[in-house]
Point group: C2
Chain length 371, copies 2
């Protein structure tokens, strides 16, 4: 069992979920609220986790939606108050984990979600939030180690709150929970983890430990994602991909870049984030090539890209070999929306850490060649 | 300016000391106690730091000894009470930083230092301690990011307290402070940083992010330590070595091995820790070779060791090229003490994470060939 303590306390290995009761006791929780979704419950994972929580009997909220909403938050806060909850267990992908952060924030701080928007400086007010345990069920976003939560407000708009105080106190990464993830979702979430390593390694921020972790994420995902996609029961591949996803989340403090700046607004078309990023990544790699030579050389070494091959072509082949789309056209993105996406990408804060600053016209060109 | 947040908040760059006033305010300190030693004061570094602390006027304690003592701790606690202090600034090498941790612990927890000994389970009682800012003046031990303090008790015995709660809240790494470090100390402290990367990369503990950081530490020190030793005014070399030392401290959570297990008891002969470790490292590398092939291959790649050369020979040459001793004999270690050192090394907890478990006879053989 690996115990890793960067940013937070991480229990990592097959069977790590069996430590849940111990970690609940360690945080002194008497009545945790477990936030999850119907998919996780249907897969039988919720029952296993409730079993591991004994003698603790968490209050369960299964209503998390794909883009977590303020409605769900309010429902959770009602449960919290009614049941006298004192901490959270987030179980699932990025959505339940983000919702858990929002509950931990509001249950401890009061007020409205919009008060903590990073855009209006509200996130700076965030102090210590209610205790949280995060248990990821996929190997992708790295949200389990994340400091941000993205929520849809009651008026339909999206808001982001970001503060280190929102990171879960304990993270339990058990690759066992990912063994039954279908190949298509394994690929789509895994390419997201890979992209975090690639974009963080290229980002302009100076953070050598994060860079080292980013390159390790790239190496691990390049080697093991194809294995996990081909054979979901390969335990080592599942272990390695859960580690790659965690490392992808850990290196995010070095910043991301243009692929995510384009991927965020495109995601509002209800397209899978990982699939979008897989399509977009080669285009930003090509755009950055001339100014990010050193970083791209390190990425090439980490991913073992053959000398004669351009990095962007290698990534396209890698994505295709995983059964993922390689064009926006395949994903059903309409051409007429591209100028608007390019404008929003230019304004996105992730553009600031991309090594070569794309303006709207650059983004538009990338998006068009991605069609 | 790099802001790095693994384990703690780290401000890292030339000129980072100018952020001291801001960081004091951030922690809300009204009356910090600055713990340092006479060498740091004589080098003019203390004055620069006091200047950067303004308008805050820290109470200054300059009496830290090379192996920090409980006497110093009691003197600091008297100052703390008399002056109404509310936090610490540690300025110097490992000794003031360790002393600061002990003060932060006792000022917040009360009791006696011996109550918190890791050997008697006392360290587990350590909760949040008084706020601390650590400012290293050398690039070596990585104590600035460390969770342990080693103190000599009033009865002359040594004790160690270890708990994540003792890590400084803010770390200010300013390579400017190391520009005047003499070549011999640059080498002796730098080889210690290098050895942390090497031993952590070989350790049996599973912690991929720590391993990635360890290998980055090895690569950085292998490339830049010779430059920093040859030309102390080379600013990039000083930056890179301060980063290597920090990374060496960050990867310690993966555990160390036999070189440090031998180096700790030998250190009681008042020999420089880094010089000892430089001598011992090749011997443990040779001892581990057959069971740590994968790790040693990664270390070779990181340090760019030529294919035809044994890793241990490369390390010996590296150490010699830095003007450091390569035998214990040169350092004046008497032969008759070796069995006792070997016995203590076998009992040291660091032996537990060495990839091949040395027994007393193994350690004795290593120590004899190091003579």
């Amino acid at each position: 069992m690996a115990l890793i303590q960067y940013i937070s306390r991480i229990q990592f290995d097959f069977g790590a979920v069996s430590l849940l009761a111990e970690e609940i006791a360690r945080l002194g929780l008497k009545r945790p609220l477990l936030v999850t979704d119907k998919g996780v419950a249907a897969a039988g994972i919720l029952d296993r986790v409730l079993d591991a929580a004994k003698p603790s009997q968490p209050v369960v909220y299964k209503g998390t939606t794909e883009n977590p909403t303020e409605q769900s938050l309010l429902a959770c806060l009602d449960l919290w108050a009614e049941q006298g909850c004192d901490g959270l267990i987030a179980l699932g992908g990025g959505s339940p984990i983000d919702l858990s952060k929002a509950v931990a924030l509001l249950a401890s701080h009061g007020g409205n979600l919009a008060d903590y928007n990073v855009k209006t400086g509200g996130s700076e007010k965030i102090g210590k939030v209610a205790p949280q345990i995060a248990i990821p069920t996929a190997a992708g976003t790295g949200a389990e180690i994340g400091r941000a939560c993205v929520m849809s407000l009651l008026d339909g708009s999206k808001m982001v709150a970001v503060n280190l105080n929102m990171v879960a106190d304990t993270i339990i990464c058990d690759p066992e929970l990912t063994l039954t993830l279908p190949a298509s979702l394994t690929a789509a979430t895994g390419i997201d983890a890979f992209s975090h390593g690639v974009e963080a390694a290229m980002s302009t921020m100076v953070n050598p430990p994060a860079e080292a972790i980013a390159l390790d994420c790239v190496a691990r995902a390049a080697k093991w994602l194809p294995v996990a996609v081909q054979d979901g029961q390969n335990r080592q591949a599942r272990w390695e991909m859960m580690m790659a996803a965690l490392e992808g989340g850990m290196c995010l403090q070095k910043g991301l870049g243009g692929a995510h700046a384009m991927g965020t607004p495109l995601g509002e078309l209800h397209l899978h984030h990982g699939r979008l990023i897989g399509v977009l990544l080669p285009h930003i790699v090509r755009f950055n090539a001339e100014v990010a030579q050193a970083a791209q050389a390190r990425i090439r070494t980490a991913a073992a890209v053959p000398d004669e091959m351009a990095l962007e072509d290698w990534i396209t082949d890698f994505t295709r070999s995983l059964g993922l789309p390689t064009t926006l056209g395949e994903m059903g993105v309409p051409t007429d929306i591209l100028p608007q996406i390019a404008t929003r990408a230019e304004a996105d804060h992730l553009t600031l850490t991309n090594p070569r600053k794309p303006i709207m016209a650059d983004y538009l060109k990338m998006l068009q060649s991605a069609m």
